[in-house]
Structure formats: C-alpha cells, structure tokens
C-alpha cells in the first residue's frame, strides 16, 4: 500500500530524520509485529496516533541528491524554460538517485530526470525522476531548500514513476565543496592545499593510496604518471576495483580522485618513467610543490631524485621491502637533507630490498636460468607505508601554515623512516623480540625515524666530480672542456 497522505508523509519524514540524526523526534517509527507493518507514532498527540504503513511504503523514501552549484549555474535556463533535464545514477533498484554530474563514475543504470520550476505540468511518465521547485518560506538550512542566485527561496519536492504510479522521494540539495571542506577544517584549518600541486610518479598500490589520501585532504592539483594498466591481480591491493580492470591506472586514479575531490584538477600521463620522457617530467616537476615517487625500481627513483634536486622540489619516496615484510619512506629536501643517491650510498642493503610485485619488477632482476617469483605483499602491509608517505607529504605541503598537524614537525624531522610488519625470516629483523616483551628494543609495528648525513660527494646533490677529481689529484678547473679523443 502506498500513501499520499501528506501529513503521514511529513511525520514519517520527521521520524526518519530523527533516526538519521540519532536524536529524539516528535514522531517515531515502530514496527508492529502483529500487523507486520511499520507504525508512525506522533508523541504530540493526546492519544498517540498510529499511521499504518507497510514495508512497501519505505520505498517512498528513496533519496535524490543533486548539486546546488549545478542548479545555481543553470538558474537562468531554468527560469527561462521552466524546466531542465537532469540525469541520475540509479542505485539499488531505485532506492537512491544521485545526479551524474556530481562525480565521474555514474552507476550502471542511469535514469532521465527533470527539474521543474513551479507546478509539474509534464504529462509524460517517461521521465522517471522529477524534482519540482516551488517558492517557499522554508529555512535555507533545510537540505531540500534551494536558494537561487536571485535570493529567492525554493522548496524541492520529488517524485519517481514506478509502473506508471507516482511515488514521493526525498530531495537533498548538496553544496559539495563546502561540505567536504567542513569535514577537514577541524584538523586542516586552512584551504591552502586547494592551491597545492603534487606530481605522483607511479600509481601502484602505494602511490595510488597516497594520492587518494592527499585528494581527501583537499590537495587541488594532482598529476599522475604511470604507463601500467590495472590487472585482475592488482585488485587485491590497488584502490581500483574489478570493474576497472584493463584501464590505465592513471585514469582509474583520476576518477577515484575526482570521486573524493570533485574540484581537483587531475593531469594524467601514461608514459614510462625513463629518460626518454625527461623533458615532460621536468615540466611537471617545475610546476609542482611536491613530488611523490611510488615506483618500485631504482632507476626511476634516481631519475626523479635528480630532477627534483635540479628543480629544488621536495620529493617523498616510498617503498615496500620484499613481500612487504616492512617498508621505508625517504623525504628529500634538496641540498638540505640526504637524497636517494645519498641513501643508496649510506644504506645499500635497505635501498636494494624491494618488493617484487609485478612481471616488470621480476624481469629487472631475473635471469633466464634464474627466474624471480612475483611475491607481492598484502595491501594491509603496504598501507602503513603509504600512510606515512602521505603524512610526510602533507606536512611539506602545509609548510608553515599553522594547523593541528603542525605539532608533528617535531616528530617527523628525520630524513628516513623504517617500518616493519613482521620479523621476516632471513632478514636482520628476524630475531626481533615479541611486541609485548619489548620496551626499548626495535619491534614490529613501529615507525623508526633514522638520521644520516648528506654525502657531500654525492653525484646527485653534492659535488661528485669535484670531490673525486680532488681525491685523485686531477685538475678539472679549466674553463673550456678539453675535447676527449675522437673516434669514428
């Protein structure tokens, strides 16, 4: 049984709102076991008035969500034509309709709708979802109220047509960006991130999670570089899902970022991170406030490291150890902290301990007579590393802006961070004491900030040629570079 009793609808709506807000309301919904129906009870009545509705009537509370900004931007068209077409993702058999323009990933089922100004005079039932705006004195804070650019206030009501029958639906008009900003504002008391630009080289599991978290924090400009496509095996770790298999990872991540931060500007480049694309990378890095390197091989890390130093852009490098038994994050402040080359020189074993999570990574170290198995770690073991990488990136992007995170600068002043998920047999960490028994020894599940010095003779951030020449007693100070011997 469906109901068109407006008082009943209003009571039910109030009761549902009270339930959603977890606070007492004037009306309540109770389930009458004997009648197998939901009963709306109004406490304001002398005698509680029960309004019998069946479970079918719950369908009337299908939710329609549409964008306040979209309506604002089309207000002149709406007033001119009296209506405007709109498309909705239809979720869960018509339980929710979300305006397609809100995000980049609509549902598999999309329905046509219309926003009508004034009375619903459209006879056709082909248009499934109708939103009718009527002038009212409703509070602008009501989620179904729309304040037009001319300051006129409109109350929105909605209907959907099911089997030719009209059913009431609840309308929520959302102002996306302010709503997102409000949820971040208690920790990130600044909108500075909206103007910040991040380039992420490598959007495998680690890089993908990092950029997604930065997008959630409100970073406004993100460039993604990765040539790979999402495979079925990736899905157990990557934010991209099985529905996206075969797509370029940069495109998958672009859409996921826009799902979280619709106003973000996302640039994608599906190219290999090699010297062949050097000029492209120089341009990207020159525009960036920060670079994230989530690649899993040394040549790309050293390449990005060199370019970041030349452009004086901070780089944050993350990586999992083999089978993700642990991982590490290196933050490079050019010429002020050790760089990737310094790290390789200072900690050769740690820098060479990498996860083999793809065919390409295995091929890099395999021989035809000594194959290397692909042994990716678990997503839950990679995520702590991605989270740490993100936090270091966030602190760099916030710079000296006073936020609730500023206090972390005292905790995160080391250049290199080590994390261990488990005491992996065959490693130097195999004999770690159990977590519960250790007070001052290293254990799993803790971050360790490790200090080491820049190498003044580093070939990337120091004076390698000068230092080596001096150590060999070679004079290279002549202004003109002498010609090397020529050979045809």
């Amino acid at each position: 049984m469906n109901t068109n009793d407006s008082q009943q609808q209003q009571m039910i709506r109030e009761a549902m709102k009270a339930i959603a807000e977890r606070k007492p309301g004037r009306t309540k919904l109770v389930y009458d076991k004997t009648k197998r129906t939901i009963v709306a009870v109004s406490e304001s009545d002398q005698t509680p008035r029960a309004l019998n509705i069946t479970a079918d009537d719950a369908d009337m509370f299908a939710e329609v969500t549409l964008s306040n900004r979209w309506l604002q931007e089309r207000w002149s068209q709406i007033t001119r034509d009296g209506k405007i077409p709109i498309r909705f993702s239809s979720w869960d058999n018509g339980d929710a309709f979300t305006q397609c323009d809100l995000g980049p990933m609509p549902a598999a089922s999309v329905v046509e709708g219309v926003v009508i100004l004034g009375e619903d005079a459209i006879g056709s039932t082909d248009v499934k979802v109708r939103v009718v705006l009527t002038r009212s004195e409703a509070s602008p804070s009501d989620p179904s109220t729309f304040v037009a650019p001319d300051s006129s206030v409109h109350s929105a009501k909605g209907w959907q047509y099911v089997d030719g029958k009209r059913q009431s639906i609840a309308i929520t008009i959302v102002d996306v960006q302010p709503a997102l900003d409000a949820r971040r504002a208690t920790i990130l008391e600044t909108s500075v991130l909206r103007e910040k630009s991040v380039v992420c080289f490598g959007v495998g599991t680690g890089g993908a999670h990092a950029v997604l978290e930065l997008a959630k924090c409100g970073v406004g400009r993100i460039a993604l570089v990765d040539p790979d496509r999402l495979s079925v095996g990736n899905v157990v770790r990557h934010p991209g899902g099985i529905s996206q298999v075969g797509r370029l990872k940069v495109n998958v991540m672009r859409d996921l970022i826009l799902e979280k931060n619709p106003d973000a500007q996302v640039l994608v480049r599906d190219v290999a991170i090699t010297h062949e694309n050097l000029e492209m990378f120089k341009l990207l890095i020159a525009e960036a406030d920060l670079v994230i390197c989530g690649t899993d091989n040394r040549p790309s890390k050293l390449l990005i490291n060199k370019l970041c130093i030349e452009a004086n852009v901070v780089g944050v490098y993350g990586g999992a150890f083999r089978r993700a038994y642990g991982g590490q994050v290196l933050r490079v402040r050019p010429k002020r902290s050790p760089c990737q080359e310094c790290f390789v020189a200072a900690m050769p074993e740690e820098s060479a301990d990498v996860e083999v999570s793809s065919v390409a990574a295995a091929d890099d170290i395999a021989y035809s007579d000594r194959p290397v198995a692909i042994e990716p770690g678990l997503s839950l073991d990679v995520l702590p590393i991605a989270n740490m990488l993100t936090k270091l990136a966030l602190l760099e992007l916030l710079d000296d802006m006073p936020t609730s995170l500023s206090i972390l600068k005292r905790d995160f002043d080391a250049p290199w961070y080590l994390w261990l998920n488990r005491p992996e047999p065959g490693t130097q960490y195999a004999d770690f004491p159990p977590l519960s028994e250790s007070s001052d020894e290293m254990t799993i599940n803790r971050w360790y900030g490790i200090y080491f010095e820049r190498d003044p003779a580093c070939s990337a951030c120091g004076d390698f040629v000068g230092s080596v020449a001096a150590s060999y007693g070679i004079n290279l100070t002549s202004e003109e570079l002498p010609l090397l011997p020529s050979k045809e």
Binding site: H275, L278, N297, R298, P299, L302, L303, K306, E341, V344, A345, P348, E349, S351, A352, V354, D364, I365, A366, Y367, S368, D369, R370, A457, C458, S459, A460, F464, V465, V468, A469, Y472, I474, L476, L481, P482, L483, L484, P485, S486, K487, E488
Partner: protein
C-alpha cells in the same frame, strides 16, 4: 644534448682511466653523432686479448651503461656454443647481447646501479669477467663459479 655536468663527468672518467692503471681504456667522443663511448683492448693473464666497449647512454651517469665484449666475435663457450646464445644468464653473468652477437657482460643490474659508480669499476668487472671466462673454458664449469655475484658496493 649532453649537459656540461655529463661532459665534466666523462672527462673525469677518462682521466681516471688514464691515471689509475686502466690506460688501455679511453672515453671517446664521436663528433659526427655527438655521442660518447668508452672502449679498449685488454689482455688476460694468459695473454689473450679482448676488446670491451661501453656506449655511453644519454642518461649517464644516472643510466646504467651496458658493457659489451666485441672482440673476439663470436665468443664461444666451453661446449662450443656461442656465449651470446645464453642471453640473460646467471650462470654466465651475461645480459642481452647486441644484434651482431657481441656479449653483454653483467656488471651491475639496473636495480643495483647508481651514479657514484665509476667506469673504472665497470671495466674492472669486465676484466674479472674475462679471467672467469678463461677459467670456464679451462674447466667447463659455469662462469658464475668463478665470479661471486656482485654485492652492492659504492
């Protein structure tokens, strides 16, 4: 195309080769193609002569330079097969050969290479490979038996 940093580095590499006992090897510039290479002919302990050739990649020193044994060509293994036929082989410490059959010697893999490594060390590994190769010829045992897998070193 070549930065002044790269040119300075290549000049340094050449000077070190000449000054530190590796004067059989030189860094060369091909003016016609504006490219660089390092090469030279060295003698093994048994007196046999081998030519090593390193084309300098455009990304040097960030990019790992490949090292090829270009003479004798072809190079034969103890069982009579061409060494180039082993391809990327751990037992023979070789990587992908040139199209003409010149064997690529494995010195550092890409995942171990870094730009603080001097060409002098690369040639040193080439010389070590040649000595191991002659032991392989003498015994028939895999070349890897005579060359420990290169540990990460500066």
């Amino acid at each position: 195309m070549w930065t002044s940093d790269q040119q300075q580095r290549l000049l340094l590499e050449h000077r070190i080769l000449q000054q530190e006992g590796f004067s059989q090897f030189s860094v060369y510039r091909n003016q016609a193609t504006d490219s660089y290479s390092a090469s030279g002919t060295t003698s093994s302990n048994s007196g046999r002569r081998y030519t090593l050739y390193i084309p300098i990649p455009v990304g040097f020193p960030l990019q790992r330079p490949a090292m090829y044994l270009t003479d004798p060509l072809p190079l034969y293994a103890a069982d009579g097969r061409r060494v180039s036929s082993f391809g990327v082989s751990h037992e023979m410490h070789t990587l992908t050969p040139l199209a003409n059959g010149a064997v690529q010697l494995c010195h550092w893999r890409d995942n171990r290479w870094h730009s603080n490594i001097l060409l002098q060390k690369v040639f040193l590994k080439g010389i070590i490979w040649i000595e191991a190769y002659e032991q392989h010829l003498a015994t028939g045992l895999p070349l890897a038996n005579f060359v420990r897998t290169m540990a990460e070193t500066i």
